[in-house]
């Protein structure tokens, strides 16, 4: 069961080919390209959350902190030190990962609600640091609440589509690896019964920490890419708790700890918001909320999770 079938590889290659070709199908329509970019962006983001929280069951309520760190590393690197985007965005990921190491090592000792509170508090405090750092130390680095304007890129939207696609595909490959490896089995064991896992020889701390750092790295890179795409960042924007909530809801909707959960959840919610948002500009959010509630009531384990349980199929 744990060996990887040829079929799975074929599907993965096919998915990548379709995603690469997709923008060329609507080169004329910049709006559609943007929606497509948003979808894969959110697949990447909720995928990162799923890596950590979906598989281990540790509900991280502050993943946005690494998005903010990634954005700021890229923005500061490009504006203050004149670094190139191709250097700064990967650096954003590395720095997010380095920050995640001590934070994870401490926070992952907590369980349940306490872990959620600790991560949430860390995200909020990083936002305050970005807001007040310059004033406190008399420097001009984070630019406080003014935010930072990045150099406007000469790249088209399609460039950012491919940048985000690379990251999202990497995140999905990690999912694929988790579904088929010793490491992934350890993650799932932690989800089910952490103490039993530990006495069965699973190095629970190391495994949790690796998942936490991996998710931080990719969220950081996505933050860097988005900052350059949007060209303007402020602390209240990039550390916004709404990003966290969106990652959580998309994963829950799709199915926590499943390969296709983030894909289905992020695609569904992004498309739903776009469709309803253009039809019912005034009150589409109420409808989106109602639909989310209905789905969660009918499918408590998410769309993919519930189908998987009912039909007892392995998707990949």
């Amino acid at each position: 069961m744990i060996s990887i079938s040829k079929k799975a590889w074929t599907w993965l290659a096919l998915a990548l080919a379709v995603m690469c070709a997709a923008p060329w199908l609507f080169t004329e329509n910049q709006y559609l390209l943007r929606v497509f970019t948003l979808i894969i962006f959110w697949i990447g983001m909720s995928g990162c959350w799923n890596l950590m929280s979906g598989y281990t069951g540790y509900i991280d309520f502050g993943p946005v902190v690494y998005f903010g760190i990634g954005s700021y590393v890229t923005a500061i690197g490009m504006t203050k030190f004149g670094g190139s985007f191709f250097f700064c965005a990967p650096l954003a990921g590395i720095i997010a990962g380095i920050v995640a190491l001590p934070i994870g090592a401490v926070a992952l000792r907590l369980r349940g609600a306490y872990f959620a509170i600790a991560t949430f508090a860390f995200a909020e405090s990083m936002k305050q640091i970005c807001l007040e750092f310059d004033r406190a130390f008399g420097v001009s680095l984070f630019e406080g609440s003014h935010g930072i304007t990045l150099p406007i890129s000469s790249f088209e939207n399609i460039f950012f589509y491919y940048c985000i696609l690379i990251v999202t595909f990497a995140v999905m490959m990690i999912h694929f690896w988790i579904e088929h490896s010793k490491y992934g089995l350890g993650l799932k064991a932690i989800h089910e019964a952490e103490d039993s896992a530990e006495i069965a020889g699973v190095n629970t701390m190391a495994i949790k920490l690796r998942a936490y750092i991996m998710s931080a790295i990719f969220i950081g890179i996505l933050g860097g890419i988005e900052a350059y795409w949007i060209t303007y960042i402020t602390p209240s924007d990039v550390f916004n708790v709404h990003k966290t909530v969106q990652m959580v809801i998309m994963t829950l909707l799709g199915g926590m700890g499943t390969f296709f959960g983030p894909v289905v959840g992020a695609s569904f919610l992004t498309i739903l918001s776009e469709v309803l948002g253009t039809e019912f500009v005034e009150n589409y959010l109420i409808m989106v909320g109602a639909i989310i509630i209905i789905i969660i009531l009918i499918m408590p384990k998410g769309i993919v999770g519930t189908i998987k349980e009912k039909k007892n199929i392995r998707f990949i």
């Binding site: 010793k182 089995l185 989800h191 019964a193 530990e198 006495i199 020889g201 699973v202």
Partner: protein, 248 residues
Amino acid sequence: MSAILECKEVSKNFGALAAVEAVSFHLEQGEILGMIGPNGAGKTTLFNNIIGVYKPSRGKILFQGKDITGLKPHRICRLGVVKTAQIVEPFRAMTVFENVLVGALHGGGMRMKEAAGKTDEVIDFVGLGGDKHKPSGAITVPGRRRLELARALATNAKVLLLDENMAGLNPNEIEEALILLRKIRDAGVSIIVVEHIMRAVMGISDRIVVLNFGAKLAEGPPREVMNNEQVIQAYLGERVSAMMSETL
């Protein structure tokens, strides 16, 4: 024969409460050691000290002559000392096969192919072959007890600590469990059994250690321990023990 596991003056305090007080004993290679004592005597706490869930307040634990005191549970498991829990906690969303595979991969440090082979072997050995691909949450209570055993065995355990592995089983199932334990011992694993079912412990153990109020009360062959005045007192109270000594 040489001692594979040895506890030297192990104590564990929780605040002012001494849950385990200077307990020393050893387990010999290929031996089944029974551990009995009234509720709250410190049996489970002692187990948890041995496998590293707790760090002993004082004392030393030696495995094959090496000091393993205070190591993390997964390290001790990988060395070869494995516990099965009193309250069974299978990884519910996983199949029986995957449950045991966790032990083989992580505890046994095997590669995927080797681990899959070991898993198949162990599942057949404990007699769970028919349930292999069922979700572990869906099998019977005796099945779950066997699953715990299988997961521990898959790690290539040298010492098994069984914490009331027979609780909740009917007489027939206990009989089967005892046969299985002997098979495990014959395969070269040394075992410590904590159990409340006297008939089972007395029947299977080579030696018995009795704990009471966190301290070691008696140690010796089953027959000797059963007639020990202090042991009878601890289990049945003073008056009964007086009555028994009169009738004897």
